[in-house]
Amino acid sequence: MAFVSSGYNPAKPMENRITDIGPRKYDEFYPPVIKKNKGKWLYHEILQPGVLVHVAESGDEVYTVRVGGIRLMSVSLIREVCDIADKHCDGHMRFTTRNNIEFMVDSKDKVQPLVDDLESRKFDGGSFKFPVGGTGAGVTNIVHTQGWIHCHTPATDASGPVKATMDVLFDDFKNMRLPAHVRVSLACCLNMCGAVHCSDIAILGYHRKPPLMDHEYLDKMCEIPLAIASCPTAALKPGKMELEDGTSVKSIMVNEPRCMFCGNCYTMCPSMPLADTEGDGIVIMAGGKVSNRISAPKFSKVVVAFFPNEAPRWPQTTDCIQKMIEVYAADANKYERLGEWAERIGWERFFEKCELEFTHHLIDDFRDPAYYTWRQTTQFKF
């Protein structure tokens, strides 16, 4: 296809240039009922899984139908979202922080036709395009990162394990039977673009082998001091390497026992890749939360040190998550988040009930905070 200019002139990049205008202003996109009642909402209620009503002081109501979105969306699918919004919602919709899509209507009689329309749409492969759910004491959509679809440092895929996990947890996306909401998140390496470190259940990609050194090219590709400075455990030092042909090159030496496999060096230097079929896989973390409700926000804790990458459906990972949720559902009190439940019964009991093996990998040995996670009391359970 021929190049089509937008009007940009590469010879004069500053000509008519518009910069620093920021995003479009939020209130351009509000549905009328939102614009009218903003700041004057009285209360809300979840009428059925995936359907909320918010009632305003004016007596106005807005009904929201929430559907699970796939974060990785084509323009064809977005256009279909637009078609639905045009048909039912006067062309308005919003997205949530957790990749759900919300369709809003201003009267109750518009809800059921919208729900029916959304539930009727399926991909050719058979999966739902817009499953209604993700509210209340259930499992909502997984927030996640790019994985193998677009990232240079992942230790696992993102969209694949998310699809596999949500297929397994689908009933809890459509239902509200759990003691409290369960937030599942995935980050494909410990850079944690997805900030999974405060989730009820976190799926985290992790490398287990030190960087593979491309000595021949390293000094040509990288700033050696920058790469060395990037190592949080001081495992790197400058050195000279003799290549097979006898030439001597400047490079980086890795003190392998000091490596925590964070990949920070690889971010600074492409001649130190960590990706490895056997080395890479998944860490499962549990018990985190961000809300201040009842107890303070908590970090997630590592409960499984490693599962292999079992593409395409990661069965060990999804089995483990499903098991944890079933045990939590059966054992926790109403309103108790997964981490609050684990703290109440004790982590020793958590491992027993969830039938998870406690290995030495799960005892913190990273710097000062480690000490505060060891048991400094005689209060424990047999």
Binding site: S5, G22, M93, S127, H150, H152, M176, Y335
Partner: protein, 437 residues
């Protein structure tokens, strides 16, 4: 007939959850047919090559994307992430596959008109694949070639009045919760503050001048739906100072079973009749509530605004009227020195236009961090390295017991010379007159 066999990915088409594989396939087919006669500016088979390279990653258990090169639009240092695949001969359609981050509107509210416009640009000049949305909040346009970057930017800014978001060592695209737009618990207008600060700090957002990334996030209440407390260098979390508004009649309706507790969120199981003592009074973390003779009483002075009672009885209890936000600083994900939660710097600040007080806090923090922060050191790490006291000094703030969970357990206080009468300079000979060697 698909360009590449994808037997592993094909297994992700079944099952109820929306399949991204089916969606990419549908996009691949739409591009191949091109019923609208789009003048595609990047390879038509980009989606098929993306499936091909992803299948290879599923087979190898390793990514096939290389480091980003330095690509971007003129005058900006962020908003574009360079991406190249490491098998360009096998998958030429994704040989160059750069990402553009587009600054999302507040609350992620859209009209179909605007989304269709973005789709048209991206269909023609990119892969037709997006993330709605990236983890930070941006609309992510996933996959285009270098010559298209300026064209897309020109079209976005000229035709659609829309700018790019942040990446690299700059202010990342700020993000907010749904806020007052559709939530009765929002203690300030998250969208208004998010938008104002985004506009005020456009230079910081587009031109990397910081030691590392810096994030603002805006949560309307302590439930923290955008997780600001866990991931924002500055988290603005709504709160109030006066009394919870209380409607005794509605309390009675909850007790009497007329209203479902917690907004109906637990309807998937029979938890038995609502028990206000067990479900509200006993779970209150400060024990500041009592229920007797059919009346609920709250000792508001002792309340720590955890949101539990309000969440359980939204029709009976409402946030107070004297509202503003708390500011917590220094949260981050684990890289490098372990995860950090935000630490409380300002217990309460009014959120009122033009937000001058808030901007003063932000700029004081930035001045300190830009002066003292090392390359790739987040604010939270600088706080750990230099201590909370330095942050207080930088912000001209007085210490407050609300800023700590507990006072220090060691007495190793770094007294300053001017805090000790007489200073540190003394005469050893004078001392020796009374203390022989």
């Amino acid at each position: 007939m698909a360009k590449h066999e994808t037997p592993l990915l094909d297994q992700l088409e079944s099952g109820p959850w929306p399949s991204f594989v089916s969606d990419i396939k549908q996009e691949a087919e739409a591009r191949a047919k091109n019923e609208k006669g789009v003048e595609y500016q990047i390879p038509v088979d980009v989606c098929e090559d993306l499936l091909g390279i992803l299948e290879l990653s599923f087979k190898h258990g390793r990514t096939h994307w290389k480091h980003g090169g330095i690509v971007g639009v003129f005058g900006y240092g962020g908003g574009v992430i360079g991406r190249y695949c490491d098998q360009p001969e096998m998958f030429p359609g994704v040989a160059h596959f750069h990402t553009m981050r587009v600054n999302q509107p507040g609350g992620k509210f859209y009209t179909s008109e605007f989304l269709r416009q973005l789709c048209d640009v991206w269909d023609m000049r990119g892969s037709g694949l997006t993330n709605m949305h990236g983890s930070t909040g941006d609309i992510i346009l996933l996959g285009t070639t270098t010559p298209q970057l300026e064209e897309i930017f020109f079209e976005l800014t000229h035709t659609y009045n829309q700018d790019l978001g942040g990446s690299g060592s700059n202010l990342r695209t700020p993000a907010d919760c749904v806020g007052e737009a559709r939530c009765e618990w929002s203690c300030y207008d998250t969208q208004a503050l998010c938008y104002d600060l985004t506009q005020e700090y456009q230079d910081e957002l587009h031109r990397p001048a910081f030691p590392y990334k810096f994030k603002f996030k805006f949560d309307g209440c302590p439930n923290c739906c955008v997780a600001s407390i866990a991931r924002a260098d500055i988290a603005f979390i709504g709160t109030w100072k006066d009394d919870i508004r209380l409607d005794q009649e509605a309390v009675a309706a909850y007790v009497g079973g007329e209203f479902p507790p917690n907004g109906g969120s637990h309807s998937g199981r029979d938890w038995g009749p609502f028990d206000i003592k067990k479900e509200v009074i006993d779970l209150c973390p400060t024990g500041c509530m009592q229920y007797a003779d059919g009346k609920l009483a709250i000792d508001n002075k002792e309340c720590n605004r955890c949101m539990h009672c309000i969440s359980v009885m939204p029709r009976a209890l409402r946030i107070g009227n004297d509202r503003g936000c708390s500011i917590l600083v220094g949260a981050k994900a684990p890289i490098l020195d372990g995860a950090q939660m935000g630490s409380l710097l300002i217990p309460f600040i009014k959120v009122e236009e033009p937000y001058d007080e808030i901007k003063e806090v932000i700029e004081n923090i930035w001045d300190w961090w830009m002066e003292e922060g090392k390359n790739r050191e987040r604010l939270g790490e600088l706080m750990k390295r230099q201590g909370f006291q330095r942050l207080l000094e930088a912000c001209n703030l007085k210490p407050d017991p609300r800023m700590v969970q507990e006072p220090r357990t060691n007495p190793y206080i770094f007294w300053k010379e001017d805090e000790v009468p007489g200073g540190f300079q003394r005469d050893i000979n004078e001392f020796r007159k009374h203390h022989l060697r």
